[in-house]
Symmetry: C2
Subunit: 510 residues, 2 copies
Amino acid sequence: MTEFKRRSAELNDLLCVLNVLTWDARTQMPAGGTAARAHQMATISGVARERLLAPEFEQAAQQVTGNEADTRAAQQALEAVAAMRRVPAALTHDLAVLKSESQVLWAQARSTGNFATFAPALERMVDLNRQLADALGYEDHPYDALLNTYEPGLTVATLLPLFGRLRAHHVELLQAIQDQPQPRSDFLTRQYPAAQQKEFSLAMAQLFGYDTGRGRLDESAHPFEISFTQQDVRITTRFQEHFLPAALFGTLHETGHAMYEQGVHPDLSRSVLTSDLLGLYAVAGASYGTHESQSRLWENRIGRSRAFWDLHYPQLQATFPEQLADVDVTEFHRAVNRVQPSLIRVEADELTYDLHIMLRVELERALIGGELSVQDLPEAWNSRIQSDLGLTVPSDSQGVLQDIHWSSGMFGSFPTYTIGNIMASQFYQAAEQALPELSAHLSAGNYAPLRQWLTEQIYQYGRTFTPHELLIRTTGSGLDPAPYLQYLTNKYSDLYGLKGEITSFSASSL
Amino acid sequence: MTEFKRRSAELNDLLCVLNVLTWDARTQMPAGGTAARAHQMATISGVARERLLAPEFEQAAQQVTGNEADTRAAQQALEAVAAMRRVPAALTHDLAVLKSESQVLWAQARSTGNFATFAPALERMVDLNRQLADALGYEDHPYDALLNTYEPGLTVATLLPLFGRLRAHHVELLQAIQDQPQPRSDFLTRQYPAAQQKEFSLAMAQLFGYDTGRGRLDESAHPFEISFTQQDVRITTRFQEHFLPAALFGTLHETGHAMYEQGVHPDLSRSVLTSDLLGLYAVAGASYGTHESQSRLWENRIGRSRAFWDLHYPQLQATFPEQLADVDVTEFHRAVNRVQPSLIRVEADELTYDLHIMLRVELERALIGGELSVQDLPEAWNSRIQSDLGLTVPSDSQGVLQDIHWSSGMFGSFPTYTIGNIMASQFYQAAEQALPELSAHLSAGNYAPLRQWLTEQIYQYGRTFTPHELLIRTTGSGLDPAPYLQYLTNKYSDLYGLKGEITSFSASSL
């Protein structure tokens, strides 16, 4: 093993250990353990940062020659080292301190609905993130620098027209849907015991191809997927006994993330190509958006499809015979795809979810760009919810205070949710072209061909390629919303009996 | 915070992280995670070793002045650094490699009963441990050097006469017991569902004072206690549905360990005084023997006492109404204290357990001293089992191959089990003298006074004092088997109706 590989392996070990500590804190740790765990994680982060910035690591990376994977790993390492060196230690420290403080203030403000008590911390957070953007560097807009830490290569210049097109389409499609009668969904809120929900959800995850010999499913307050090499990839979900879709689709969503991590080639384990060195996070996925494309693909494209439920609804009905006695598969399929504007992002349906995201992206870009003040933020939020969704925000708790992201210093991560939706449709379209029998396989419950194709095209490479390179290699084009808009239009036209009147899709796809 | 405290805190963080990784591997990790976890643990151990041996740490320790806790911490750090420096890096490496190899060979040999396939690895393990003893240094016997890593200050010169006296007593007491009729114990092997076992065991652990706000109880193949500072102290047990005592007394045993760890003064968290620096293990207990004294005290002195069952047997009966319908408290109490020679140490009763330990100690001392060859080990084992317990070993799987210790390179840890029993009785006797109402408290199910006294006398100090200093401070004398022999003689005389004929006790206590 070369010096570069040895040092990369140790770095990846440290990042995997951070992930173990995170997983334990969110799923197992007794309440009393919080303070000690924070110290332990800070110490491991400190060691990782020290090893990343050690001159010996940089020298070892500079000496790498050989195959493409090795030279790309070395290149990524050198870029991460350079970027981390550009950020002053004092700024990193200030951000870490502010993060823990502002999360507490945010949680308090959210529970009281009093935005003013959180505003000063948020102002400072915006300020520090602008400093971070300046330190990291950018060409056009400071938001680009932050965006780049989640989605390498993405810029405001790309994002704005893309989102503009999506928004026009979504608003028009939503309007058309709202003119139609709504399907019933009363049965989704009946009582569904958690144990059976877990049994069914895990069975579906395993059918998709999630390997529980290298993973496990637990409960946590907020569902997530996390990996410690492809040998150990864990998912969590949250069981709501009176809302069946939460754990069911939540599990399928995390399963998509997990299969990406489990599918990376074992040779890339313990390497830079399964490490986000700048984020000090062990992850095999190429970017946040690429990762999200796989969770959305498996959750929505497969898990909410008619073919999936034609096949598996009898099993769900057998699991919950009383709760679903008066519901047929058509009603169930329509209910879990029902579109209904709501105030809360994490409860949104597939269509309005993007509108929630685009609202946040526009506001955080304006905050970082200095075009919007923290003081004016709630008003900007509320008016946009009114215009896009036709809803009045009754309290900032259900408005601008609902997400933890900004209090955690995460500016630039929101776009990756919608980027993931777009990429999911591009990848899926390419899979359909490559696998002529795909729809027959899926109708027969044979998920292996799709998973294997995704593994060959995407999963196995880990972080070898950028998201853009992956798209080009796999679909022949860069980020393109057309397949996604086509998918949504077709899907909801079928479900709601719309008749080809979505002009914003037709116009923009010319 | 001084430089020494800052560096000590980071070292303790690293050792706590190793403990989290160990706990997860033994209770949660999917099978596939084994190899990656080994790398992660090796990397963290390497970082800890590097930081311990950093010249800056030694210099910082040398500059410490101040109160007794600080200077003792610095002294312990300097001793650990010096000891670790005496061990050649190549030897540490060879031991680590051999450890993983020989554990595999041992497991295979145990399953086939073929000692010869394990013998070469064991020979090399004995050889490396003799080299380790030479490197660490000793005055009289190489075994002293190894013993000292588990029980500071203990030597063969102290141990041999002590164990000689114990053995004479135990063999005679066992003989007297075997002349008496045995109590019934058939009901212990009825079916006891794991869920109710867990509920009852955890309720008792909490009654003793185990704080589940800073801990949790899980299942694992081998029960253990492990801590990540006193804020997070976890225990495990193994539920055998057809043998009630295993999980019940196993939980009370681990509870004793856990209350020791939870009882350390919070000011000692993240310090040398809650770190075994030479063993690279985060632990607040003063030594293996001191730790074992607390698990044995709570398991045996309290948990197997008549007063405990007079109070809690009705609750156990309510938990298992059918299984215990025909059993009264006298029968139950006698059954869980029944003495019966057996081949397997971990299944042994309170009296014969020490005989199992003393056999191992004598053999490992002779191996390390070069007085016994690995080749002659099985025969030496079997003849001793015959003479002490009157049993014939049918296969090495149930004889010399039953324990993992030697294959893991643990020579010198076995004595601490019996040392723990001896210390438990000394501490308990001191508690009785200090707390005139102790027996009334215990009969009323009030365990707080005993736990508080032990916390004040022992737990709060962590590793500030050596085991010998703790004994002197608390009981006024050094290691003394008399209270333990007195306890056993009284206990079994009552249970088996013996009449004052244990001469080896009377003679030796003059």
